[in-house]
Amino acid sequence: MFFKEKSIFIFIVLVLFALLIVPIQAGDIFVSNAILIFFYIAITELWNFMSAHVALVSLGSQMFIAIGAYTTAIAMMRYGVPFLASILLAGLVSSFLAAIFCFPLLRMRGVYFAIATLLVSELLSRCFSAWDYVGGGAGITMRGAFYVSRMSLYYVALCLSIISILSVYFIYKSKIGYALRAIGCDWEAASELGVDEFKYKSICFILASFLMGMTGSVYIQYTGYIDPICGFSLAWTTNIAFIVILGGYGRLVGPIIGSILFVLLLNFLAGYIGLTLILEGIIIVALLFFFPDGIWGWIARKRYIKSPI
């Protein structure tokens, strides 16, 4: 057992080392794709945890990404805030909003919570369309001078994805994670044992939104454009659900596998966004029928890996 853990540890260190060094020599395509992969890992890790272990399925997560993107764009272009500070700001604004939303949203459970998150996301979308400060329906386009280099973006995205993975790992093992999983399994029993459901769910929700807000910065730098339609689009949730279900529902490694495969799929079907989503939908249905645990879940079953994460 000890040997096995040690070899996994060495493996991870080698991979990290490679990820740090390779981009210097690698071509543009590799770096761009890598940014996307890290980006999606960062988004999906926490969604995966919340959905599978805390029974909080959010259909409106895209609002935090969008808000993060808007914040970064506005902060950098109108207030001259440097990029790294903008990232932090994006996270803070998102989590601030999440903190406000906690009160109405987290009183609901299950499907009601899911619907409510969707509702709030749609509501924000409409509000942003009518709000001049954020550019209304036209949105915001990043101007040339404010772009950061792809390399910098690579390392930022890499950091965010590592933070995500570590967050989920440590939350899972911590007292908070224990409480959250109890809530996810049987909230009534958890309440009777004295677990403050609202408090723990809020912590989780705010943390997740903080990370997603930060990823919004990566998004705006990568695509250079945000508007209410694409920023709050349901396609985000579709992609997240696809990655999570494909890679391994509830598993730490799941979103990693899922993100890699997803970005590969995007490359294959480049330019046919509609087709990509249809294919995702079909694959999601097929997975839910036959492989609800996803790829890593299936592997774990085959190799009798006991760890639930």
Binding site: P104, A116, L119, V120, L123, C127, I282
Partner: protein, 288 residues
């Protein structure tokens, strides 16, 4: 002297409410009878709109004539989906069903986008745009037609649920599924018909909304939100509550647009639904 345009506005809200209620009836069938969430409900409504659009543009078929065909097609779609894709995960596993219907929603939206592009469409029949004068008011014929269909749908649905044995079984099962099984009733069979009816109802709503408003492949999301709102406000106790919910939503939509401008139509409407959801998710008027 009463402000005629305000009366017009209220009437508009009520008419729209009756039509919104139509979206809610379908929700009642899957949430009230089966306890599941069909994330593709709004998209099925839009699908029906597009089918009518196709028939109108290429074959010149009047949407109201195409309605019976649409109803049959939608019913079959719902029946088949329930039988082969949803029943196997019942009872329990509501999240998985949510995700499956979500995937269906995505597939529908994007297929429509590929087939019809994102351009907005509508079911435009010039004859219907003529106005009928009732006293002081001018009401476009299309409003009266849509509203009439919505009312007829309600009446037929109400009679179905209260007078037919299948309808009674649909009302009985959510109250005590084991008792139903002890009577030899097979819930899965009933669920097939429930879902068929639900999607057919969504289809009707889609057609009559398509006559009034423009739609695009992604309008389904708005329809879904409104459907849920109607049921949340009106409660799942009975479909009578759904009418109340529909009218409340319709008025919010119309009044919101009037006082705050067209961009805020949805905002006021959604806010109302959100507030209702927060206060009492099982419905303000009914035993959920």
């Amino acid at each position: 002297m009463m402000d005629l345009s305000f009366i017009n506005l209220i009437l508009h809200g009520i008419f729209l409410g009756g039509i919104f209620a139509c979206l809610g009836y379908g929700v009642f069938m899957w949430k009230g009878v089966m306890g599941i969430i069909n994330a593709a409900h709004g998209d099925f409504a839009v699908l029906a709109s597009y089918i009518c659009f196709l028939l109108l543009e290429f074959y010149g078929v009047d949407p109201l004539l195409a309605l019976p065909l649409v109803i049959i097609l939608m019913f079959t779609l719902g029946f088949v989906i329930q039988k082969y894709m949803i029943n196997r995960f019942l009872p329990g596993n509501i999240t998985r069903i949510l995700l499956i219907t979500f995937a269906l929603s995505v597939i529908t939206q994007n297929s429509l986008q590929i087939l019809f592009t994102v351009n907005e469409r509508s079911l435009y029949v010039s004859y219907y745009r003529r106005s009928i004068t009732l006293g002081y008011l001018n009401i476009p014929l299309v409003y009266l037609l849509s509203f009439t269909i919505a009312i007829i749908t309600f009446i037929i649905l109400y009679l179905f649920l209260t007078r037919t044995l299948l309808g009674k079984a649909m009302r009985a099962i959510p109250k005590d599924i084991e008792a139903a099984k002890m009577l030899g009733i097979n819930p899965a069979n009933i669920y097939n018909y429930s879902m068929g009816i639900s999607v057919a109802l969504a289809g009707i709503a889609g057609v009559i909304l398509g006559l009034l408003y423009q739609f695009d492949p992604f309008t389904g999301v708005s329809y879904m939100v409104i459907s849920l709102g109607v049921v949340i406000i009106g409660g799942l106790g009975s479909i009578k509550g759904t009418i109340v919910g529909g009218i409340a939503t319709g008025l919010a939509y119309v009044l919101g647009g009037y006082f705050l401008g067209p961009l805020f139509q949805y905002v006021v409407c959604y806010l109302l639904i959100l507030i209702a959801l927060i206060i009492k998710p099982t419905g303000l008027f009914g035993g959920g």
